[in-house]
């Protein structure tokens, strides 16, 4: 998607692995690609719907789902929401298996 300018990082703020190292690395990468990276922080499944709503309102072109226990446990719901909103999405392998657009990892 060459015209993509705004992307989102879908993360659980309770997980210091995601909002720490992972987010920093993503920000660096986004900067070099001249993209704007939005943080979408969700603490539980009840916040998924509004998070996707927010991404659509902010014209986010694509979303990357972070590797987090809570998110993995609810990966089917997340994949369904991304599909429903027709949002380009990437996550871990489980995400693709659950119906998400793309997955990466072992």
């Amino acid at each position: 998607m060459p015209q993509m300018t705004r992307i989102a990082a879908f993360m659980n703020p309770s997980n210091p692995g995601g909002v720490g190292g992972e987010l920093q690395a993503m920000e660096t990468a986004a900067k070099s690609l001249k993209m704007e990276l939005k943080q979408v922080l969700v603490r539980g499944p009840n916040e998924f719907e509004s998070a996707f709503e927010q991404m659509q309102q902010e014209s986010v072109a694509a979303v990357a789902i972070s590797d987090d226990g809570m998110l993995i446990a609810n990966i089917i719901a997340i994949a369904a929401l991304a599909t429903k909103r027709r949002l380009v999405s990437i996550g871990n392998k489980e995400f693709a298996q659950a119906g998400g657009l793309m997955g990466y990892g072992v």
């Binding site: 309770s14 997980n15 226990g69 446990a73 990892g105 072992v106």
Partner: protein
């Protein structure tokens, strides 16, 4: 976890002899590994479902120095698989579809090779404490992989191995308390997943050594005999059905 000898430490917590978690390639876990090893001499169990090759990343040092790297489901493609992908060679474009599995280097104590059958008669066995950050239903698939991996090694839950589960239900602030519970019940090893499960205690909890023992036990390291053996296993060889009971590791000095 399969250590036959019992560390003769007074602290009840020292009976939890190993600590394990996945994603060893990430910084936070790496630091925890270093700390556990450096401060306590605990046997460290490393599991990884990351896409990094432990022999080539910054985590390699930890893998190399881990006393025990127990990989229950090497051949499984789900947690806690340690099947790693090799990162692209420097200067090349790399393979966008990393599937090549690489050798896993494992350092373990010879005494770790316990005979599952010996304990089977008693209907008991080593006890694993599973510290789950999410929920049993959300991790059903991964748990199944874990059990299948154990089965490959001759361990059947409820028959010759016991798994105690504690789930934080996505509320990571409960993890410490749950870990303390597992430790109090004297499990042989704690297996957890993700960064929250493997995080070190805060300064505040450090004052309560009973909740996170590996920070406080200073004497254990001295009580463990020096181990310099090294095992290299290739997943294909070591985990083929024929060798599934894996008694045939060869040891070489490192």
């Amino acid at each position: 976890m399969l250590i036959q000898e019992r560390a003769q430490a007074r602290n009840v917590d020292s009976k939890t002899r190993s600590v394990g978690f996945d994603n060893c390639a990430f910084g936070a876990q790496q630091r925890v590994l270093q700390h556990i090893r450096g401060r306590t001499g605990k046997h460290v169990l490393g599991l990884s479902l990351s896409g990094f090759d432990p022999t080539e990343t910054c985590a390699a040092q930890d893998f190399r120095s881990a006393k025990v790297l127990f990989v229950p489901s090497l051949k499984r493609d789900i947690f806690p698989s340690i099947a790693c992908t090799r990162p692209p060679a420097r200067g090349s474009h790399g393979n966008p579809h990393p599937t090549a599995r690489t050798h896993i280097h494992t350092w373990r104590r010879s005494s770790c090779v316990a005979a599952p059958s010996a304990r089977a008669a008693a209907g008991k066995g080593p006890r694993i404490g599973f510290l789950g950050a999410a929920s049993a239903s959300g991790y059903a698939r991964q748990l199944e992989g874990f059990r299948l991996g154990l089965r490959d090694l001759g361990y059947v839950e409820g028959t010759n191995i016991v798994i105690e589960y504690r789930w934080a239900q996505g509320k990571y602030e409960h993890l410490r308390e749950l870990a303390a519970e597992l430790i109090r019940s004297n499990v042989d090893v704690i297996v957890t997943h993700g960064t929250p499960g493997a995080l070190p205690p805060s300064k505040r909890t450090r004052r309560f050594p009973s909740s996170w023992p590996w920070w406080e036990i200073r004497s254990l390291r001295a009580s463990l005999p020096a181990w310099r053996g090294r095992v290299e296993i290739s997943p294909d060889r070591a985990f083929s059905p024929r060798n599934s009971r894996r008694r045939e590791y060869s040891f070489s000095s490192s």
